[in-house]
């Protein structure tokens, strides 16, 4: 039902109370606030240009490194790419929050980049770095 929740406007009080009933007391707007903090991919651009490395890095100028940030809290909706294990981890965490941690927000899909640069001898190296760029994040 998460897609339906997102479409609702915050001022629609009537609808809100209906949803509260529908969700058995669960407040979907609290969930919407939570979703802003939920596990998601964030962008972090590593700029070789800003580092002043243009004298030895030929290409690229930089790369979108990205990282994963946010919480993996109950309920784990589909947008979090939660693994089955993450759901179990969440349930056990809820039962014993001080001993068992929440699932971890981490990359689930990574891709490579290629960097072209000069070495000390002015030879040129094209090196493929696997798993350097986060394509998507999820709860593990």
């Amino acid at each position: 039902r998460s897609s339906r929740i997102r479409r609702q406007t915050p001022n629609n009080n009537k609808k809100r109370s209906k949803d509260n009933e529908e969700f058995g007391g669960w407040n979907p707007y609290a969930d919407a606030r939570l979703s802003r903090r939920s596990c998601q991919k964030k962008n972090l651009y590593v700029s070789f240009r800003d580092l002043g490395w243009q004298d030895w890095i030929i290409a690229p100028d930089g790369y979108a490194a990205s990282y994963c940030n946010g919480e993996c809290s109950f309920p784990l909706n589909a947008h979090m790419n939660a693994s089955n294990h993450a759901i179990v981890q969440t349930l056990v965490h809820l039962m014993n929050p001080y001993r068992v941690p929440k699932p971890c927000c981490a990359p689930i899909k990574l891709s490579s980049i290629s960097v072209l640069y000069f070495d000390d001898n002015s030879n040129v190296i094209l090196k493929k770095y696997r798993n350097m760029v986060v394509k998507s994040c999820g709860c593990h």
């Binding site: 243009q54 030929i58 290409a59 490579s112 094209l126 090196k127 696997r130």
Partner: protein, 298 residues
């Protein structure tokens, strides 16, 4: 240091001080598997580095073309679309295969003309490549010496006697052979490879030099370079590389000989990711069957 404000904009989060900047640079260099920031003698043009008329020599240009031919597939993997390099550098199918297989491709600038104390005075046909920066823990997939044959140069360098000979042969093409030798101890020559060149052939040719490269990486002290010998196919008479039309170190920068090598990283996958040695936990702490094959756990 920037962060994403959630609406597709980056915002300055914190200005790093000098020490923090240095640490950050060091971390990124480490991530790239480098111990220090390279200081190449050759300086790059500051703007529009990847444009065609950039004044760069053939060795960097070859890899720039390879880089520009890389496209990201749906899977997020970088794949080669070989049209560009095929057009300019006459790249074969096996080269494209090597490029796809390789984790590292290096193009080496010829330093043969700068060597001192070497008896092979035909510096034109003499090649030497500095391999000191080849990353450790790599396996050679293949390597080739790439040479450019310029037909205009052949016509200019052909002396009158040869022209007369050519006229006598009446249309018989004057083919050449080029042979590459590895230079051994006391200037001994060890045969590596040879190829026949048609008199009308123009463009890049590649000679397989995988064997000497593998040897030099294991024994760097045996790297005395390569020697090129050109002969007329009909008579076997030795001729200069210039007469064949091979572009040497004094020729056009974009057509100078260079060596390209394709390497596969032989580091375990986890180390490959980080570009560094990961600590291995004590065996008594590992009780998972998955870790029994001596792989470093993630």
């Amino acid at each position: 240091f920037y962060y994403d404000n959630g609406v597709d904009q980056t915002v300055v989060h914190k200005h790093l001080n000098k020490r923090e900047k240095k640490e950050m640079q060091s971390e990124i260099l480490h991530l790239l598997g480098l111990e220090h920031r390279p200081r190449p003698v050759l300086m790059l043009p500051s703007k529009k580095k990847l444009e065609v008329d950039d004044g760069l020599s053939s060795a960097p240009r070859f890899l720039i073309d390879v880089y520009q031919s890389l496209t990201e597939e749906d899977s997020g993997e970088l794949k080669l679309t070989p049209d560009l390099i095929e057009r300019e550098f006459n790249v074969s199918d096996s080269d494209v295969h090597s490029m796809d297989e390789a984790d590292i491709i290096m193009s080496f600038v010829n330093r043969g003309q700068h060597l001192h104390g070497i008896r092979h005075h035909h510096s034109f046909g003499r090649f030497w490549f500095d391999l000191s920066e080849v990353p450790a823990q790599t396996t050679v997939i293949s390597a080739e010496l790439r040479l450019y044959i310029n037909l205009t140069m052949v016509q200019e360098n052909m002396n009158t006697t040869e022209k007369a000979d050519e006229e006598e042969t009446e249309g018989k093409s004057q083919n050449f052979s080029i042979t590459v030798y590895e230079i051994g101890l006391e200037d001994s020559l060890i045969y590596i490879d040879s190829m026949e060149i048609d008199s009308h052939q123009e463009g890049w040719v590649a000679v397989n030099v995988s064997v000497p490269l593998q040897k030099w990486l294991v024994n760097p002290e045996e790297n005395f370079g390569l020697q090129l010998v050109c002969r007329l196919s009909t008579s076997g008479k030795q001729i200069s590389a210039r007469e064949v039309g091979l572009v040497g170190s004094h020729g056009n920068d974009k057509l100078q000989p260079f060596m390209v090598a394709f390497f596969r990283s032989s580091m375990p996958s986890t180390q490959k990711q980080l570009g560094q040695q990961l600590p291995v936990p004590p065996k008594e702490l590992i009780d998972d069957e998955d870790f029994e094959n001596d792989e470093v756990p993630k």
